[in-house]
């Protein structure tokens, strides 16, 4: 299982330090180390958003779907995007790499589009979604997270590890 991963890193703290700072150059496949080092935290934050967006969308659809179906469908869509991004970031391999790029790009487009819409025409989406107001209800984390995620994926783009 994945638990073996932990055994592959050197066990003495001194030996681990350089790897924690530059997680990618040592690996044969850079794509395999997306969920390593700072990537651990990125996956974890995505996981929290996946859980909260799913719970919120389920609640909204279960209790008051007819009030604002478009907004609540958007909530559900955002939840699916966060789940996909979390899983894709945590997994190894080229296919999951591009899945995570796609999911996070959609997330960025979503938060920008919904943020702009709620700014230009607040009446169009009267109910709050994760992405309303560029994610201000969540401390603008939904706006920062995809930028951080794409930057992280760029640093771990396929082929980079092979070149080194």
């Amino acid at each position: 299982m994945k638990a073996k991963l932990g055994n592959m890193t050197p066990s003495s703290p001194a030996a681990r330090k350089p790897e924690a700072q530059h997680p990618e150059p040592h690996s044969a496949s850079a794509a395999g180390h997306r969920s390593s080092g700072p990537g651990r935290l990125i996956v974890a934050v995505y996981g929290v958003f996946a859980i909260s967006a799913t719970a919120r969308a389920s609640y909204q659809i279960a209790t008051k779907f007819s009030e604002a179906p478009v907004a609540y469908l958007l909530s559900a869509f955002a939840a699916v995007v966060y789940i996909l991004a979390t899983v894709a970031l945590a997994r190894k391999g080229l296919r999951w790499y591009w899945t995570s790029v796609a999911a996070i790009s959609v997330e960025l487009a979503g938060v920008l589009a919904v943020g702009l819409l709620s700014l230009l025409d607040p009446a169009l989406l009267p109910e709050d979604t994760v992405w309303s107001g560029f994610g201000q209800g969540y401390g603008y984390v939904p706006l920062v997270l995809p930028l951080l995620g794409l930057w992280w994926l760029w640093r771990h783009r396929p082929g980079r590890g092979v070149v080194q």
Partner: protein, 124 residues
Amino acid sequence: MVVDGFFITGAVICVLSSVICIAAAVIRQPPNDITILAVAAVELFLLAYGIAAIFRQLGGEPVAGEAWEFWGYWITALIVPIGAFWWSMLERSRWSNLVLGAVGLTIAVMLVRMEQIWDQAAAL
């Protein structure tokens, strides 16, 4: 939201837990007994909070908001420290301590929401 003993206790435990874990990450420590116990303290608080909530409800102090929403939050909150612990154990680097540090902050936010529901606040 009424700031009661439950909230203050929970907020202090959550913030302390996060500070300990983040400090451990800053001084480049992998997850150790101290940071794991700090996260366990958050989980223990949640268990105590839930058991207390059961007794409060049975004792004629019902949830002012939606009871099932309160318990939904509680069950989700219980999973967060366990999930973070599992994720941090798969790779024991300093970064995993930041994962553990995220637990306290996340639970603090969820505690605020649970307290709001308990005292009846507008639904999401």
